[in-house]
Symmetry: C2
């Protein structure tokens, strides 16, 4: 592990390579034999499971239920919604046959041409179409509304340039699809969910986010309005971390989903959809980690505390273990996930480096002399600070420390974002500033034309029109035309 | 609902139709627009989630971890293991292209012929090949073993005749894939997992199962030995409910996965794989339910207790609610999932029928007079018996009752299986008995030839060679040749 640690590229040398190294070396994921598809390894999956559990809890607390819809979507479904097909038909995996047969030359198997599907099927890139085709049968009257379904699923988009967690052909996500009787209720749902995502990002991932709406250009294909949470990575680039879409009646019209309202009139149903994916893993890794490896927020760390015994012989180990056992039990009783690593085939130094690489928030180390003194060594992963604590009351101390670490990680990320956020008024300033990275607050005239010119010339996109903060109107930095408020520009993942 | 209940076919009239009706009317699942693929509706999915949570707990308690491997498998991987390809290549979904384009005639989208994959990809029917191709990079030394991975995933097998939950083109499952240094350890894992499945089936699903090994003919394609748990449905047919495979070194050889053992020699790795799927939902439904609807075992019921108020006006409702609230809280405190259904747009009779249809184990009904008397009406779903209980101590009473119901459902299913299990010695007897359904214990000479003759002539297959019970040798009922022990024959799902 010492060797592997040395191999971890430094952020200052090559941030992108540092990320790729870290994903592999911390045992989070690896490339698979299938282009653009990754294997999520057990340690990476354990973090994703913690995310899932918390999100699932938040969805259920707000009245949502889970369901499961088919992986495959008839090709013709995509075409039903004009903008949707433009956005999603271009890069998708197409199933054309349903059987293989032995190769006539005896070398393996070939596609059986006799088993050609009448209509090709698409591996879902997102499920609005198949779900609204289903909702048609579920919804007849206002009494059937609202429908508040979520599904945890795999989806596939045939991306040409992929990066683990950030952009992969197959990824895991959740997609909520809700149906409502009124426009207001659907919009309320859209806002409720972007707030839940922001709450999750800030209070569990410890990643500060800016809530806002997307420009027309960056909207979900088929949405009237897309709400987003945007996070800033350590290199100053933005990462879109979750989106919630107001779909209006677009999919209801495409799939002919009408209901009888309270006034006994037939009306199209109003819709929302919202999702976060394994991309959040990328955000989590890039927002907090350092040149020693992962830094995980305690609220999502699969192992929150590791205890390493320092001993010379089995008698010492036995003595240490006797002291550690009740501490482990007390921590577990507090709902803290703790690992006592008494494996005797690795040295303490190796273990220390390994748990640092894996981002375990708190490391306790205890030797014979500590026991004599009634003390224990405490190392916190976020600052790498070591201290000596009393054995007496150590569980409560660790519990408090975990919350302090959670808080500190968030504050650090927030301070970084604030430091890397600037306000500019001229396009020249903008071009200079964007090279330094970070978020730029600037006025924009609201047109796709101006947005695309800026993107082409600077590689920066409008991340969002923020919901909170300064709403003062002004003049577009490029065209001088009126601007309703400053928007956030950044280069992004 | 009264109307819908009437529409539920009776088991005695048409068991198969009863099952199909029940799946739809109890809101468990429905057919989708994609041939052979179902939509799992929220109530059905909630039961599946309860199954998942418990199984996941049992897997983790025995040292397993979750991971995620790609959905798509390169076609050539299937051919690496000779028997595996024969078993799985025949009916699978094949991805041949990665892009659609606008149709030249303007009518929707068509497959872009320019976006043809060099090598076709198969939607996983099971993941041994892609996982063993991955394990090759994870395993070098005996120190890397064992690997004890599980994944929760969707898989696809292009079945020609499908039935919801029992046999669908896409289904949800878990698949464990373990790697070991020795044959003994791998076999131990195989047995451990079939025991966990049996424990789950009997103590959570309340479905008694017979553990055994499959005949060569019924083995998993690529396995040396397949262990199975076999359950009996109410119509006397068998349902294979979970399998655990000893794969020997077959996949290690196919994917060249070797390790340096303790003696410093290169050796192929030993493997197991094991899985249960949404098919268990079919077993759960068919084992216990009746002509009034679902009967769910309390350990897996999403709603364990429902409380229905009987009132004439809002004052009465308020009074009842005041009494019910602390009961709800006490039950929740005991970890019991309870719903207080005070919806005022449905009558009590409608609610009663609906919760019966949905299989809620305990229903409490309470009216103004009950409050005067300090009583509450208790209905248990398994026997449909009503009784009057004291309000005082009702939570404990319900808690005990839930365990009684769990126990009763299991015993009822066990008694049914025992009643429907016979021992025969001649093939004539066998042919007569098989028409009556149930399990038949008979001697068989151990050959595939005899097994296939029996299957052809009677539609019965060998469900398993049981691990427990009578091991007395005898003579094959068909050929008179020696038989090591009686095996279990049945017609099956």
């Amino acid at each position: 592990m010492a060797k592997e640690l040395k191999d971890l590229t430094k952020r200052s040398e090559n941030y992108s390579q540092w990320y790729n190294d870290l994903v592999v070396k911390a045992d989070l994921a690896e490339q698979s034999a299938v282009r653009g598809c990754m294997v999520i390894k057990p340690y990476g999956y354990a973090i994703w499971e913690k995310m899932q559990q918390q999100l699932d809890r938040m969805f259920k607390e707000t009245g949502h239920v889970n369901a499961y819809f088919p992986l495959l979507i008839p090709k013709s479904f995509l075409s039903r919604e004009a903008e949707h097909v433009e956005g999603f038909a271009k890069e998708c995996a197409v199933v054309t046959h349903y059987r293989l047969k032995n190769s006539p030359d005896g070398g393996g198997v070939v596609v059986d041409p006799a088993a050609k599907l009448e209509e090709e099927l698409i591996i879902r890139p997102t499920s609005e179409t198949i779900i609204w085709n289903t909702y048609k049968n579920w919804i007849h009257s206002y009494r059937d509304l609202p429908i508040l379904c979520n599904q945890w699923a795999n989806v596939m988009r045939w991306e040409m340039r992929t990066r683990m967690f950030l952009r992969t052909a197959e990824f895991l996500w959740q997609e909520g699809h809700t149906a409502h009787a009124t426009r207001e209720e659907a919009l309320e749902e859209v806002v409720k969910m972007i707030n839940i995502y922001a709450d999750f990002a800030e209070n569990y991932m410890a990643v500060p986010v800016i809530k806002g709406v997307k420009s027309a250009n960056e909207r979900f294909a088929g949405a009237i309005e897309t709400f987003t949470i945007e996070a800033m990575m350590q290199d100053g680039k933005a990462l879109q971390s979750g989106t919630s879409h107001f779909l209006g009646q677009n999919f209801a019209k495409a799939f002919d989903v009408k209901f009888v309202n309270k006034e006994n009139e037939l009306e199209y149903v109003w819709a929302s959809s919202w999702g976060v994916s394994t991309r959040l893993m990328g955000a989590l890794i890039m927002a907090h980690s350092d040149d020693n490896g992962l830094v995980l927020p305690p609220h999502l760390a699969p192992i929150q505390v590791v205890i390493v015994p320092i001993y010379k012989n089995n008698d010492q180990l036995a003595e240490i273990s006797k002291v550690v056992e009740p501490i482990v039990n007390e921590l577990k009783g507090m709902g803290i996930s703790v690992k006592y690593d008494d494996a005797d085939n690795k040295r303490p130094g190796f273990k220390f480096a390994d748990y640092e690489l894996k981002g375990v928030p708190v490391r306790l180390a205890i030797g014979a002399r500590d026991i004599e003194n009634g003390t224990i060594e405490v190392m916190r992963r976020d600052t790498l600070e070591k201290s000596v604590a009393q054995l007496d009351g150590i569980a409560s101390h660790v519990k408090d420390l975990l919350e302090k670490i959670q808080d500190n990680i968030f504050k650090k990320a927030l301070a970084h974002r604030e430091e890397m956020t600037t306000t500019v008024d001229t396009y020249d300033e903008f071009k200079e500033q964007i090279e330094k990275g970070g978020f730029i607050l600037a006025h924009w005239d609201g047109t796709t034309e101006t947005e695309e010119k800026i993107k082409e010339e600077t590689k920066a996109t409008i991340r969002c029109i923020p919901l909170d903060g300064d709403k003062t109107p002004g003049k577009c930095m490029v065209t001088g035309r009126p601007s309703a408020q400053r928007v956030i520009f950044a280069r992004s993942y």
